[in-house]
Symmetry: C2
Subunit: 376 residues, 2 copies
């Protein structure tokens, strides 16, 4: 049986190159996890997700508990077998989506009661139930149930919310069934208040987790606030455990967070933007529906080794697919974006190993600033 573990194999400043060892295989960090909300990375087959270089995906407890239900997934052999993703899977706790998607939610000390956005049925999520659902799903990494503090919040509101999350974190730790190769991550809250973040980190370390997430960021606060919180929070997390920045982010945000010692990321941007026709490229972004791409024979990103760019699909063709509302357009842009994100984290890992991260970061920002290639 493989153990859940984390080894840091190289450092460059605060940044780390490492490797998670899980029951479902290894994950090289810094790592980006594609989002497979309803047990599918939208439009992409699992074998294709793996081909982009992704080793671990994220799935959403909230969606799965409502449909098809954790019990159905358990009957069908767990999430890995269900969605045909044999690699590691991290599931969130459902707390974030309860706050953003569910109706008529009522929070109390014990948990949160809400109505499903799918069919209006009433459900209750407690720390214990959130852990149990993720157990039924067979999640490789289980996240504690927390309240993602809305932004903006006063310091008093943020403190109250964070303290509830810390009590819930302790209950999740109690409820979690320890198994080799499976892990439970705590989540630091505290909004934009350094002192609250410090108290939250200390509380989690006291409880003891297999990894530590920074939550409640990228929820509307200025980018500078996010980076400042990372500057202040990351050093308070155990050096020998993985650190996960939830829901982040744009390529530039990932680069800056890696510089600050973050190891794991997830974000809907590569998939969601891919579906709406926005491609991430070395020099920024390509809005493929723009008329300038109509007769452009070039790939989205020169030199990109992804199946779309290396496969010879021209911008002109991708433009046509989006203009014609053809499914293949979203599929191909999603594939490219996922590969782009994986290439970014692979380059970050190499740069850290080579001790050249600052140089890489400078080049990265300079390329991004140039903007997309002019039309032919």
């Amino acid at each position: 049986m493989r153990h859940f573990g984390f080894q840091v194999t190289a450092r460059d400043g605060a940044a780390r190159r490492g490797r998670l060892q899980t029951a479902h295989g290894p994950v090289d960090t810094p790592a980006f996890m594609p989002v497979g909300t309803a047990a599918t990375v939208k439009g992409i087959q699992p074998s294709q997700v793996a081909q982009t270089g992704a080793q671990m995906v994220l799935s959403n407890t909230y969606h799965l508990m409502l449909r098809p239900t954790a019990e159905t997934i358990d009957k069908l052999g767990g999430l890995h077998r269900f969605m045909r993703w044999p690699g590691p899977i991290l599931t969130d706790s459902g707390g974030f989506q309860v706050m953003s998607l569910a109706q008529l939610r009522k929070l109390d000390e014990g948990g949160v009661t809400f109505k499903s956005h799918v069919d209006g049925s009433e459900h209750r999520l407690t720390p214990e139930r959130a852990v149990q659902i993720q157990d039924l799903l067979d999640a490789t990494v289980t996240m504690v149930l927390d309240e993602c503090t809305p932004w903006p919040a006063t310091e008093a509101e943020a403190a109250q919310s964070m303290e509830l999350s810390m009590r819930w974190a302790a209950r999740c730790r109690e409820a979690f069934r320890v198994r080799p190769g499976y892990g439970l991550f705590g989540i630091v809250q505290g909004s934009v208040y350094p002192e609250l973040r410090a108290r939250s980190a200390a509380a989690l370390v006291e409880i003891g987790f297999d990894g530590y997430a920074v939550g409640g960021l990228a929820v509307g606060e200025p980018r500078e606030a996010m980076l400042r919180i990372l500057d202040e929070t990351v050093p308070r997390l155990p050096a020998d455990k993985p650190r996960y920045l939830m829901g982040v982010g744009k390529p530039g945000d990932i680069v800056e967070a890696v510089r600050r010692g973050i190891d794991m990321f997830d974000c809907v941007l590569p998939t969601r933007c891919g579906r709406t026709g926005l491609a991430f490229v070395r020099r920024g972004k390509v809005v493929i529906k723009n008329a300038r791409h109509r007769e452009d024979p070039r790939p989205l990103d020169e030199g990109c080794p992804c199946p779309v760019c290396a496969g010879g699909f021209a911008r002109g063709y991708l433009h046509h697919l989006f203009r014609s509302d053809e499914m293949l357009g979203p599929i191909l842009l999603t594939l490219h974006n996922l590969a782009h994100y994986q290439r970014l984290t692979a380059e970050l890992r190499q740069a850290i190993e080579a001790g050249r991260l600052e140089e890489y970061v400078a080049c990265f920002h300079a390329e991004q600033a140039k903007g997309d290639l002019p039309p032919l």
Copy 2:
């Protein structure tokens, strides 16, 4: 340069096992061509289409002339390069879709004038322009412009329509630029009237084509009428040229048409049904949204070697994808259906080679009649 040719390598009754040789590679017949209307087999990458076993695809002139235009595709290197399908491509003439999709169409001796269903712009399609567009597209097989006679039609209406199509066929032959490995197919019309079909076939043979299509079927007439027309028409087509039954059909129709000497097929059924949740299986059909599939761990079709069935995707998972409106559902069912159709034609080829077609056909119908497996 590869020549356009056709060799019959085995016969069993009226059925033939053969091979097309084209500028873009060979096609083993009987062959099923997946439909890639707007230069894409909806939701499926060209490499995946090839993996199902398909060697040739069909694309629609009507759609492509309107968007992105034949001239744009020509500028981008032709249809093969544009859609990344290096194999043979057959394009229809646009006539059928002008009649079924376009607005305000006006037919005269010279051609047909119509307004685009996309943006209302006015266009004119003549036999010469239809051939020129398919030349710009770089179609491996060009189809003559014809009028697909609507059903029902009186014998007088059908005769008038057929005769116009024959005059257009002669003009297409004139306009077609002969190149090694490229072919032009004529289309037999004449509705359900044997005498008209015979006259149409004779007129086409007199003009001389690289292949002969039977058109105007599967447009609403009873199945028996279609099979009777095939019985009467196919023997009138040259034995040394490929025969193509346009727009057909259901698996059982393909089997019966192969028995009658047809070599090539195209149909939207595997792709369109795949998108709406209907899977073709050995024992008939599976409507995946039905509640009976909710917790079924079995594949769509036991023993099917397609990437969906052999890949271990359970009916319960596919059911979940369709219930959740996830893109991957239509993608996977389309893939399965395309593979199912390719398996069917591969089995037909083997049965003809082995001289056991009648035995195969009897087994095929018996299996279909059993219906889908009962729930576990």
